[in-house]
């Protein structure tokens, strides 16, 4: 019995076509032998030079493909981390080493928030009552390290909402942080602009109001004043919190100390 007789699985159709297959086989598989051409006949008579056995070459190891895939994955992962690092979207424990590593190659990536004090979030709010500081934006601390191009001639807004003075000459390449310090009783308010490069330029603002005595300096919930003079505040808490005495004095010079900078703040005393 031939192989084609045993592993057909469509026996119903096969029964119908079996006579046809028998005819097919008789006509073609058992037909006349072919004529031999000159080339084959010569080969049969005289033979041929020995043919060496060619061992089949082993298939290329998948190592190359694996290496390429791993390399592609590594590049993709690196690009993802770099992108998230540039956006400051990495978790703090990762953002810091990424930022440090990027600094080695000349890239300035934002650093994570190191010192976040939720309890002090409301300390700014006392001085930022509605109507006095109409639009105050409290930027996250990260913003203090973001590059800003609008530092020259930035307008500093006083706690009472008035826009006075300007702290010109701050670094255009580094981020600026404008810290609003409240003055308990004096009329002067120290507004310090801290540059990312560590230098701080302070400017004397307008008249401070005693109402803003509780507006202590806070490193983390500080309002940032944009170059266009408009400021906004996100936090709407109105709880009264006494600021740490060491951070801002009443009417004294304000001191701004970002966690990763050592600014020199020179606010003229009132």
């Amino acid at each position: 019995m031939s192989r084609y007789d045993v592993d057909w699985d469509e026996m119903e159709d096969l029964a119908v076509v079996a006579p046809f297959f028998a005819e097919l086989r008789t006509q073609f598989a058992e037909g006349p032998a072919p004529q031999i051409g000159t080339e084959l006949a010569t080969l049969f008579v005289f033979g041929a030079p020995p043919i060496g056995v060619v061992k089949p070459t082993p298939a290329p190891a998948p190592r190359g493909r694996t290496v390429r895939r791993v390399a592609a994955g590594a590049v993709g992962g690196l690009a993802l981390v770099a992108g998230m690092g540039a956006a400051g979207a990495l978790p703090a424990p990762i953002q810091e080493p990424v930022a440090n590593a990027a600094k080695l190659v000349g890239l300035n990536l934002p650093h994570p928030h190191h010192h976040r004090h939720p309890t002090s979030a409301s300390t700014d709010e006392k001085g930022g009552k509605a109507g006095e500081s109409p639009e105050v934006t409290t930027h996250a601390h990260r913003a203090t390290h973001l590059p800003s191009d609008s530092t020259d001639g930035s307008t500093v807004v006083n706690p009472d909402g008035s826009t006075t003075g300007s702290s010109a000459g701050t670094s255009g390449q580094t981020g600026t942080t404008t810290k609003k310090t409240g003055s308990g009783s004096s009329t002067s308010t120290g507004n310090s602009v801290v540059t990312g490069s560590g230098s701080a330029v302070s400017s004397t603002g307008g008249s401070g109001s005693g109402d803003h005595g509780t507006n202590g300096s806070n490193q983390h919930q500080r309002p940032t004043y944009h170059g266009n003079g408009r400021t906004t505040r996100n936090d709407t808490s109105t709880s009264t919190t006494t600021p740490p005495p060491s951070d801002s004095g009443s009417g004294g010079p304000s001191t701004s100390t970002p966690p990763d900078t050592t600014p020199t703040t020179t606010a003229p005393a009132s």
Binding site: F20, I36, L43, P49, G52
Partner: protein, 195 residues
Amino acid sequence: MPIFHPVDPLGESFPHVLDAAREGSGWAFEQLFRSLAVPAVGYLRAQGLADPDGGVNEVFLRVFRSLGTFEGPEEKFRSWVFTIAHHLVVDERRAQSRRPVTTELPDGELGHPAGDVEEEAHKLLGDDRVMELLDQLPPLQRDVILLRVVADLSIDDVAASVGRRPGAVKALQRRGLAALRRLLERESVAKGVSP
């Protein structure tokens, strides 16, 4: 030209014959040729090759040239030979699709008016019933049926020859059988109706 007659499969002597062919012995080439030449030329003829004898010569020349790359038993050798034959068929189909079919006309017929085209075509193609039925199958189904019946290959060997998975070959075989069944039933009905 000499005409060789087919021989039975080489059986246990196949490894010895294969080694001798690799050494260049003419008798070994002849033994290998005679063991498979008849079904090979039958396969080429069933596929409609214009010159099946020349085709089988070409197949075995390719086989002998590549003998150094072959390793395996006689059944695998058979499958390998038919794979090469099938590749020749595929090459021929491609070549035919690119060139127009030309036919030499007998002397004196050029000036005659054209006759019945259908009748002439039947005369050229012949009235071979088996070939007519095979011609109505799609090429892939025809390949599978012929490799299974004429070449006597298993499903796996056919799959290797046509470059498809065994499951696909089974599906092609099933469809080919169904098509042949319909054709045969239609043929029998036509014979019963016609006087």
